[in-house]
Symmetry: C5
Subunit: 354 residues, 5 copies
């Protein structure tokens, strides 16, 4: 979180629709590609500039325009002009902190959302801001950087597997969102695995820095919840929309996506509950341990302090200490000490101190 | 939870309706059976394959097809074809993690739900995913594995007891769900018994691993809550549906099931509250115990440390320590010590330390 | 809670409407009585069997049938036949765990609810399940056992006091419910008294088992809340019903009952808050006490341990310890000790340890 | 809270509308006064009995009848008869525990509410139950006892200041409620001042009985919240009512009162949050202090216990302890002790124990 | 918070619409300025008194009247007369504690809100009360004191940049609110930075006064939440209003502001969660530290107390202590001591105490 970033502060006072990139500092080149397909053809092109898009208007095929990199606002502006997008939309595309929502226009739908990816080495959860625009004959996809999770799906489209090539743009719009949502399950399962490991650790060896691990994981779970929860309303709005860009059959598919989002939300809520239980469990373990330590201390102190006192008595140098001259005085002292220690031990045993 | 399982990860990128079994790894053979009955006849057949079902279309009798085992997706696909089921439905049948819901189609209703069973030896609560499909003349029941709780009910149908043989498919649909819901009460009563035992343990002997027991039971209660709560909406939707697959009189019965689900939900919520109270009670008991231990330590230390100091004084080897040569100096020392100890004890007594 | 009881487990697999008594084990005889009155007459009869009821159909008087004891399901079944009650209703009459609700039928209304009674010797709060049925010309009242709280009201009716003898069945239905609800105030006032006593105890002498008392009272308050809260919806439904069994003027009276139920709910919620505050207060008192104990220990240890060390030094038997042979060495040692102790005491005083 | 009071218990079994005073025991005489005014006249009379009210029916002036003391139920009954009030209303007037609500009748509106007054010497918050009745030409005000907060307002009316003399009864009804609500701000500001003082105390010197102060203040805040919150709905109902007793312009004024009530509710909620934060802050301060105390103890113990042990070794009386006879043995012992103590101190310093 | 302020107390009993300034005591002179612009002209005037406003009625230009300072109620009253404002509105302008809301009148809209500013030296968050009035041809802006955050925006208008000069009054109304809302992001980012620093501090060195820092920051976050949250409803009401003072296109812009307010609310809620997590983390760290300290103490005590006891035994002066005369008795004692210490260390090591 200490990397360079652009923040809201840079936007203050600018007129609405001013494009200011908000997010991690990036310098990599933006790549633009266009995929055009129908039942019987499939083309892929890398474009130099957004105005090279050619096939968006052809009504007999589906065109997917993909822009990788949203930090170069001039390209986003060009895209806005090319496809006639509202300036407010462009602002949401370049603001990688913006929440998911559904914005409906006459000609297109706009849905920004997040992709989550687990970095396996560090257990960090990275977020990518993607923006989807569904037009009549195509979809435009803006993403922060290249990511792999769409690859298997792209491959299927390229090879003409499944029914995707026979469907309209709304179907590919659905398939993209569905793939992103499916990917969330990987994150919740990753969190689930970490919770299981942490539970074992707390139960077996609640060492001193477990509380920091609990805290770290809690922070991650809260982050994932914040990322996923606005999507619930977005998808719900797609199901309820009366825009003719989405066919009834595709809306049915979105009902399934909605079920998944609900399931995810419930899973994360239950994970939040679990991590809070961990905290309670850990705190009570710590209290128990302290009790244990205190008992050990008290048992030692309560047994040996009186005994040392007795020995101290007979270490005094008074002229006349009668016991010192008793026959077997030393052994009588030992006897007394053993009785005292025994009584103490009996008392502690009776009170179940050990 | 460490057993082999298939997870969502395996599904990413696959088209909607792709059948991937999600759940515990299983290899046992799937069994398919068909029961056909009306007021005056009753047949039971074990089938080799799903396409052997014969009586589904006969409108004058009720047919219950039961598929035990959902891990063989080819059989589920065959069932989908045989009965004309939506691919999305099939997906929910083989995903044993999916939530309860009601899906309404023109020809059938689909309701997946969970069965809970307490394993008495281990106190583990097992969950089984079942899917019910209500068609015009019958019910299809998919379940993960054979379970016993339907046996008494089956026996009643076989012997023609009760009114079930005089009713339509919607009635058997209701009776199955009712039986599953009734079974939840066994689970909540099991939890209630465990709570009672745990309460006694906390009140009488809050030993050190009680917090782990509290945690375990809390986890179980949360699990049962998560399992039962989505059913509330499913049943509520059955009551509100205008599908003509469910007669008004059967909807009335479902009102009763709904009452039970509400009652269960409230019971579990109150159990959650109870277990949280346990945690507070346990934590305060631990604090009390520590106070107790500290008091014992402090009483011993505060009494004997000054006494040992006095003895130490007269154990010094100075050339001239006047008290050492007093007549009865030793006994005076004892006197002083007894007074000191008495004052201490009086102070502690007055402050109600013991 | 360890008494014999019948539970839901006994019902599994039975058809809907199967009458299984759920509640405390009872063997006492069921008594049935009938009271018939109008402005100018008043009759009371004890009946041998439910079918002896005679006056239910007479439209010019109000008949109250009272069945004390619901554990004999055959009598309940007979009542069901006699008055034409739905089997589902009968099930709720014999299930003493069922929640309050309002069920509306064409000919009658059904409202089960709970009576709460404080057993003054043990402070236990007992619950009684009562079921009220309002028909056109009368009311049927099912109750678990005889209870006293209706006696003053019965006496008033018998003597013709008040306007009850001039009113229809809906009025007596209202008066019964009103009396039961008024009785809840006794319970909340009992809880209030116990809270006051407990508060005093915590503030003055937070002894070690106060946490158990807090826990016990919290459990009771939660129990009362669970018992009363479903009634809110029942009464609200009576107010909103368009059944012609309840006249508009009686609905107005129920508005008053509703106010009382809301008041009760708020009172109990505030009592729950109070008991949670007690727990916090208690826990912080315990922490304070422990701090106190630790300070005493530390003051003693920090003062006497160094002094004992000094004495120990001069108790060593080295051939040459110069101080031992100083003139007044012993008194110098005392001087040093007093300075050390003084410095310690000053430090603790400055830091407000005592 | 230990004063004599009448409770709900006394009401059980009585018919609806039975007048039983519920509240603090009082014996002071009830005073009744009548104020009649219009633009050009103003009269004030003290009445002997409620039936002496004369001007209530005159449509060209506004009459305010004020009854101070609601413990004499015979007077309340007389008022009910004189002004034709519903018995249920009378019950709410004499029950000083009843909640605020708005009851609408054809001829009048009834609104009971509470006045809060801070007793500055004891910081106690007293509550007074007042009941307002708005009729066509006047307002009746019932209050438990004489209070001062209306005095400035009465003075203004008497002297004909402001517009009140030109308005109808609904305006004086509004002004009374507005004055009572404004008075709540004094209470919340009093609570705010106490919170500020308590915060300072916790931050500077969390002495042992601060937890009791936190608890006391929390109780007061909860009490104020309970008192004010039902008013929200009452005022909201006045705004929404279509009764022609309230003119549209007066409803507009009530919108302002509603804003104030919302503001008060939010203020109290934030005060509740603050007092909970205090508890956390206090508890963590206590823990910190205990840590501090434990560190002092441990540093003393860890340094002097080993040293005392060393001295003890050379205090033994074995025939042959070589070190005792070394030249400078005593000084070597001191050297060893200083090194041991130094190592200890270094260790504690390094670990930031002091 | 200890500065001089005027409070609600001063208002009690005054008629509605009485102007009493509630807020920080101020004596600085109120400044009034008027800005009038259209596409082709731009004028700025400082006015001596509010009645000097000249251009408010001209329909072909937009006039912004800015009043800096609301503590002089005579000026606010004059403004009320000049622009025909409702007295209730004026009351909200001079009450700097009043909440944000939208009040709709036929001729104008009234929206009070808060500006938040971070004082960088002290990390204090200051609040300014601003009131916006949107009329047909202009906007009136009341603010407590001069502030800088509008400067860049004013500069843009002056130079005719952007589209603001081509738009109507509703657009400048939107731009002002948008600028104030954007400014909130600076505050949440400031809080975010402070949270990050505090997290690091807790994880690395939970010193004793961290709890006070947590408390301070929690208080600030709660304050910001309270300030921002009422705005949600205000903006929502602007979007839903059917007043013709706001054009449809401007309402669209407000949708964007609404998104920002939602985003801010969520951010602050997540910050509240974070600060609560900090508290838990801190408390568990403190418990851990105490455990650590206790272990050190116990290890020292448990090892050296028995050893000192042994030494004490052989320091006694009994006539006959056989071991004292054994050959090598002293060395045997050392041996025993080393074994005892070793056993202890082994025990503590095994139990993972260090």
């Amino acid at each position: 979180m200490e990397e360079q970033r652009t923040t809201y502060t840079d936007k203050i006072g600018l007129p609405p629709g001013s494009l200011v990139y908000i997010g991690k500092h990036r310098t990599d080149k933006v790549t633009i590609s266009e995929t055009d397909y129908s039942t019987d053809h499939y083309h892929e092109n890398n474009l130099n500039q957004i105005s090279d898009c050619t096939s968006w208007d052809k009504s007999d095929s589906v065109t997917v325009v993909s822009v990788i990199g949203v930090h170069d606002t001039s390209i986003i502006e060009a895209a806005g002009e090319q496809f006639g997008l509202d300036p407010m939309i462009l602002e949401d595309i370049v603001n990688t902190h913006s929440r998911s929502k559904l914005e409906e226009f006459d000609d297109y739908l706009f849905l920004p959302m997040k992709i989550l990816e687990v970095e396996l080495n560090t257990n960090e959860i990275n977020t990518e801001h993607v923006s989807l625009i569904l037009g009549k004959n195509g979809v435009i996809l803006f993403q922060e950087s290249e990511f792999k999770i769409l690859d298997p799906f792209k491959e299927r489209v390229r090879k003409g597997k499944g029914i995707v090539r026979q469907r309209k743009a709304d179907y590919i719009f659905y398939r993209l969102i569905d793939t992103f949502v499916d990917n969330y399950f990987i994150v919740t399962e990753h969190l689930f695995d970490r919770l299981e490991k942490l539970e074992e650790k707390i139960l077996q060896n609640p060492s001193e820095n477990v509380n920091e691990e609990i805290y770290e994981l809690k922070k991650k779970i809260a982050f994932v919840k914040r990322t996923i929860s606005p999507l619930r309303e977005s998808i719900s709005n797609i199901i309820k929309t009366d825009s003719d860009l989405i066919s009834a059959s595709t809306q049915n598919y979105f009902r399934d996506v909605y079920d998944h989002v609900i399931h995810l939300t419930e899973t994360i809520d239950s994970q939040r509950e679990t991590i809070n239980d961990f905290l309670n469990l850990y705190m009570s373990s710590i209290s128990n341990k302290m009790n244990e330590v205190m008992k050990v201390l008290t048992i030692f102190a309560a047994i040996f302090i009186p005994l040392t006192f007795i020995a101290g008595i007979y270490g005094t140098n008074f002229d006349y200490v009668p016991e010192l001259h008793y026959k077997n005085g030393y052994f009588v002292m030992w006897g007394v000490m053993i009785v005292v220690a025994g009584v103490m031990l009996y008392y502690f045993k009776k009170n179940k101190w050990f």
